[in-house]
Assembly symmetry: C2
Homo-oligomer: 460 residues x 2
């Protein structure tokens, strides 16, 4: 019985198991559901034991528990792969928009509808089906690589305890590569792999002029106005090519390879549709020389998130205001150090604040680096081959503009990331009526089954 036959034979049981798990309302963001998140962890533990993992543990945190499992390879020299996912789910509000009970999953044609079906329980569970299929097809008793799984219970709440958990268990979690199954493919018929997520760092800028708001008749035109200084500082963050002007900002940025740009360009992309999803934005905009997808996926930004000062109420008030404020954030790509960007921003402000204005730069947190998996790295190539075997077609590449906890995973465990996932942007994750395409979950299982062999060869 080959992998595909095994999966087909066991698909009904697989979806029955998944529906059972989806019935547990493991909403990490709602303290009333903490008990359900624990039930979810217990359910997954039992399931992984049944799958054959010799080691399954529930790891407590100061918040909600994660599940850890390990199945050693028969060959002690084999590589180790860590699979990351999460078993908690988003809240269900606005509940009146659900057409079915979010925690009574039902099938509708090829779709399975229910909270967590795509994000992320469905995508965690395909790994156990794939693993069993691979072992069955090879007539082995253990996987060809050591497989570890870490399925956390607070991802939808910002993974507040994950970094500490990773550090506390770094030895147990040591691995050669981390497989993340919590992203999406481009389209159901355009399988793809994410290869990066942008990092982030933030700053808050305050400019102080006169001690109090001044009458602009008596003083206007002869004292510095902090709002003018703020406008100049913020306007000066970009040049006319849409590039960020901070000295050194692009130093070390890993450029997009020609091959990656070529593959991005093969993704079917309708810019008009994309702009519609972007809050009906009326025109694309950004760094000259890059496409929209390249801009959001692979280029760093400086973005003003908020700005305020002076009179903001109704009517006019002819003042020279005392203060001006702005919140700025930077999306980062591979090769950029958040702390270095913050230092550069501070230096930029110091160098460009006019006489008579006092500037304060607050740096709320260190931020985090981008994650990045080069498409020609061994792990990505191996996972791509597995995906292509499962889907029977070319697998393209995407990235994501924002980030989850993946940067922490890679940095703390010091291992590269590989994103293998079969969710779709149309799965309505975080929204009412979340669904997953059942045939894609089975493709995910098939890719997972092939992946362990591919990793065993490629990472040895």
């Amino acid at each position: 019985m080959d992998v595909r036959e095994y999966i087909e034979a066991n698909a009904a049981d697989f979806f029955a198991d998944l529906k059972e798990w989806l019935s547990i309302p493991s909403i990490s963001g709602n303290p009333a559901h903490a008990v359900d998140v624990r039930r979810s962890a217990a359910w997954l533990s039992g399931h992984l034991r049944e799958t054959g993992f010799p080691t399954v543990e529930v790891w407590e945190t100061p918040g909600l528990p994660a599940v850890f499992a390990e199945w050693p390879a028969a060959d002690p020299g084999a590589p180790t792969v860590l699979v990351y996912g999460h078993h908690d789910v988003q809240p269900i509000e606005p509940i009146e928009e659900w057409v079915t009970d979010p925690f009574a999953p039902i099938e509708d044609g090829d779709r399975l509808i229910g909270r967590g079906s795509s994000d992320d329980k469905g995508q965690v569970l395909f790994h156990s089906l794939g693993l069993r299929a691979g072992i069955a097809a090879s007539a082995a008793t253990a996987p060809p690589v050591t497989i570890k799984m870490l399925v956390e219970g607070e991802e939808e709440s910002g993974s507040p305890n994950l970094p500490d958990l990773l550090r506390a268990h770094a030895d147990r979690l040591a691995c050669d590569v981390i497989v993340v199954s919590d992203t999406t493919m481009w389209l159901a018929d355009v399988p793809s792999m994410c290869t990066g997520m942008r990092g982030l760092t933030e700053a808050e800028l305050a400019l102080y002029g006169p001690d109090t708001d001044l009458h602009s008749g008596s003083f206007g035109g002869a004292v510095p106005n902090p709002l003018h200084a703020m406008a100049s500082l913020l306007a000066g963050l970009h040049d006319t090519d849409g590039r960020v002007t901070l000295p050194g900002f692009y130093d070390g940025v890993v450029p997009l390879s020609d091959e990656e740009r070529r593959l991005f360009a093969k993704l079917p992309f309708d810019e008009g549709e994309w702009l519609a999803t972007a809050g009906n934005s009326r025109a694309p905009h950004g760094e000259r020389g890059f496409t929209t997808l390249e801009r959001v996926w692979a280029r760093p930004t400086a973005e003003v998130n908020g700005m305020w000062g002076g009179h903001t109420g109704p009517g006019g008030k002819t003042i020279v205001p005392s203060e001006a404020h702005a919140k700025v954030s930077f999306r980062l790509v591979a090769g950029q150090d958040p702390a270095e960007v913050q230092r550069s921003f501070r230096a930029y402000v110091e160098a460009n604040t006019p006489p008579g204005i006092r500037a304060e730069v607050a740096l709320p947190s260190g931020g985090f680096r981008a994650c990045f998996s080069p498409i020609d790295s061994a792990g990505v190539r191996a996972a791509r081959r597995a995906m292509e075997r499962a889907f029977g077609t070319d697998v393209l590449f995407t990235r994501e503009g924002g980030s989850g906890p993946e940067a922490d995973l890679s940095e703390i465990l010091d291992a590269p990331l590989v994103f293998v996932a079969v969710g779709l942007d149309s799965d309505r994750i975080h929204a009412p009526n979340e669904k997953v395409e059942m045939p894609l979950l089975l493709k995910g299982a098939e890719a997972a089954a092939y992946m362990w062999d591919e990793f065993a060869t490629a990472l040895r």
Copy 2:
């Protein structure tokens, strides 16, 4: 008995009268004191009748009343002068900071302390003393020019009914020159005359990007950010020389004459002290090539009074915001048309708003022009001679950066303004413990006495 002797002989009666008037709490901004503003108008009417004005009328408005008086010249061909002032006063809050009862005026050395002593009852009243002194000294029975007085009762509330009152009585108020006695001199020993006040026009700018705030990870760097566009538009309002960049902004601006700059420069001026009064501003700033006084008095400005958009609460929020807003005002000088400046601002915004951003410019009111009295005009020269005869020293020139209702007076009555006043910046007008220097009021009366002769000659 010459003018000075008459004034000295009648000074005690003059101050007794003034204290009686100051005892009436004619606070126009407080409806509970409307009755007192009416009492104040009645008091002044009686006083002007006693002074000898054949015509004295209380002019009602939809708000509070003004007092009009007229004393025709003996010679029907003589010029006509309108004296403008106001009999209402500022509120007295914070009342706990007054060291005396604001409406129980007392003398403290040369000072008379009480609300309205400088702004503006003291300065209105010196005209009647001066007029009587002039007539007495000349042994005439009527003044050498036709003298009209208009003393309004709502100046401290923004003169909301003055324009209509002026239009309704334009025939009765017709004149060759308007004497305004509601400003200040430079210092007690540096007599000066104001020769201009800046005008004003305002605009509110709204920029709209995406329909909703967007996640800056998913969209940042590829759609236009209205806060970036706002920063660029506002930063672009000034060039590196501090000049306003709006096309045509300086067209028609009446330049400062070399003589006026020379006379400004003779005013004792300590920039450090001035900065301290400017809310402890740390450095002067403004249009290159002009001094601080020239900047606030005689140069137009663009001033951002308020700006807001995106996330302005605590913490970070990594969004591309949907909207950005700003309030902008322009101080204008002689030769600038408020409506033209508004048109230019609107055109500037239209020309410089990037693709994908929609701009809305709201123009709250038409604004008002600057008032300006050239130092070589007949009226200013005549009044200056009168001031120099009274003070026995050179009279210098100042301007004011903001404006009261004077622009309306000049525009509606189509007559030039001459500012003759003896208040001081240290008089604490609009603040607790307002005072006036009694010797200066007597100098004002003396200047007023000489002024009618000077006008009779100069304006014929």
